[in-house]
């Protein structure tokens, strides 16, 4: 269906890793993302998902291996959490031009595309979690990025909002053919349209299509050893079924802490 495999990759990580303060955050990451391709990173807390995403965006330099970007690569970034203090007056319209200059028509179009045109004049502090997330998508997309990096895009959004956001991600991919790197907030849920799931645990422990990873012994050994916590593939036609499969909330809350990995404190730094 998508011919991205023949295309030149937008970004390639080869054996990439980051060492910080004598500790290896993540190592040996190989991944490449082409136009129209969706790559999803899953793994427990502290497994190196955010670190890997930061190597992709260029916020972190790899201390091992290489990161190769297509020259002139434009990245759109949807951060995991963006708490905008009340002291900073910011309308949705103004947020759209945060990192670049765009015309009023471009702003309207970008907001229209995520179904948030009516929020244009609203203050960002007034938005609900789902609305704010949509606006952040629009903000990232207005740059017409080649590569969209989404850090836990549905975290903190209610279930119906989650369904809608996955649908939006799909639409964005289909319409713009941007490459998408997504960090999943849930070990057990990936979008069905994901082309490659990369399962991290300080290193790449398994990878492949969602269906391949679901049945891979490495995945099951590391993350699937709790009752009912198999990988759920998030298909929009069967939302409820998969919700029940995937969100084994009680099981995985405990699960994430059960491997004895160190947590990366300061991963999501404070703004002073």
């Amino acid at each position: 269906m998508h011919d991205y495999r023949q295309r030149e990759p937008l970004i390639t990580l080869a054996g990439a890793g980051v060492r910080s303060g004598g500790r290896v955050l993540v190592e040996g990451v190989d991944l490449s993302i082409s136009r129209g391709e969706i790559v999803t990173l899953i793994g427990p807390n502290g497994s190196g998902k955010s670190t890997t995403a930061k190597m992709v965006t260029g916020v972190l330099r790899p201390s091992m291996g290489t990161v190769t970007r297509k020259p002139g690569l434009t990245i759109g970034y949807v951060p995991q959490k963006l708490a905008i203090d009340w002291t900073l007056p910011l309308t949705v319209e103004r947020l759209m031009t945060l990192t670049g200059r765009f015309s009023s028509a471009e702003i309207g179009e970008a907001l229209e595309a995520v179904g948030a045109a009516h929020l244009r004049k609203a203050a960002v502090q007034e938005l609900s979690g789902g609305e704010f997330q949509r606006v952040l998508f629009a903000r990232a997309m207005i740059r017409k990025p080649d590569l969209l990096v989404l850090d836990e895009p549905v975290q903190g959004v209610d279930f119906s909002g989650e369904v809608a956001l996955y649908q939006l991600i799909r639409q964005i991919r289909d319409k713009t053919q941007a490459g998408i790197l997504m960090i999943s907030h849930d070990l057990h849920v990936v979008m069905a349209e994901t082309d490659t799931v990369i399962c991290l645990n300080g290193h790449v422990c398994c990878r492949g299509t969602p269906n391949a990873v679901k049945t891979s012994p490495e995945y099951l050994r590391l993350f699937g050893d709790r009752a009912g916590s198999a990988l759920a593939i998030y298909e929009h036609h069967h939302d409820h079924e998969h919700h029940e499969d995937g969100c084994v909330v009680g099981a995985h809350g405990e699960h994430e802490h059960s491997h004895g990995h160190q947590h990366q404190h300061g991963e999501h730094g404070h703004v002073r």
Binding site: I75, A83, D85, T87
Partner: protein, 272 residues
């Protein structure tokens, strides 16, 4: 119009307020109030060292304030003491060391009260030239770097992922603050400088919908505080620097009564 001391004070104060308003917005947005205070307190050390080494006082104050800011950045990276403890140490020790050195400078008469609380009525035409020259330069740097500065304030991570350099923005803001402190010290004194940065900006918040508007409103409110404070001090024969601050406070309290903000109460995490 520069004939009498009162109009010189008005011209100088309004010029200073035009700079402290917009810059103060960043201080409020980035929660740098205590940081600003620390830099301001170090100004006295700057004065003492300048006299000791016979260099220009404005330059000396700028250099020491910038050094203290740099020292804080380095100490923060050590990850030992919390930032507010570090600020407390730097703030009070630089003030104390400054006072001690002043005590040794017996051969020159130093108007300590003038440095601590300012003497806006003693402003000379030359001082006005420094305020306007420096002020225009500071505003120009602020305007030229406005977008990256604001993006780095909203989210350093997002700014960096999209190709901006938030670390540079941070350094620019520190240097601008050091410059403002150097030119403002003579007018309002080291103990009251931060009030001109923070109070007009805080007042402007409730009257503004965008960051740019808040910066402009803060400049105007700062100007009103200077004019109101100076006329008040002439009428009631009160100290001029503190009168300006009291006027700024009155405007702030007035703004709390204005029933503008439906956003009020959505402020999340204050403190630290």
């Amino acid at each position: 119009m520069f004939g009498d001391f009162f109009s010189r004070a008005l011209v100088a104060g309004v010029g200073l307020a035009a700079v402290t308003g917009p810059l103060g917005c960043f201080v409020v947005w980035r929660r740098m109030a205590y940081f600003g205070d620390t830099m301001a307190h170090s100004a006295l050390l700057g004065v003492a060292l300048s006299i000791l080494l016979s260099v220009n006082v404005t330059l000396g104050v700028f250099a020491v304030a910038a050094l203290v800011a740099g020292a804080l950045l380095l100490l923060q990276k050590q990850n030992t003491l919390s930032t507010d403890a570090l600020l407390g140490i730097l703030s009070h020790s630089s003030l104390a060391v400054g006072l001690v050195i002043v005590g040794f400078l017996t051969q020159v008469r130093i108007d300590l009260m003038g440095f601590l609380f300012g003497d806006i009525l003693a402003v000379s035409v030359e001082d006005i030239a420094i305020i306007y020259g420096g002020g225009i330069a500071i505003l120009a740097i602020l305007v030229l770097n406005w977008r990256p500065l604001l993006a780095a304030t909203v989210s350093p991570e997002l700014a960096e992922a999209e190709g901006l350099r938030p670390e540079v923005s941070r350094i620019i803001l520190m240097l601008l603050m050091a410059s403002v402190i150097a030119i403002a010290m003579k007018l309002v004194g080291v103990l009251l400088i931060t009030s001109l940065l923070i109070i007009p900006a805080a007042t402007a918040r409730r009257l503004s919908a965008t960051p740019e508007m808040m910066a402009a409103v803060a400049a105007v409110l700062g100007g009103l505080s200077v004019v109101g404070g100076l006329f008040g001090s002439r009428t009631w024969d009160t100290a001029s620097g503190p009168s300006i601050v009291v006027m700024a406070l009155a405007l702030f309290l007035l703004s709390l009564v204005v029933p503008t903000a439906r956003l009020f109460g959505r402020s999340d995490h204050y403190g630290t």
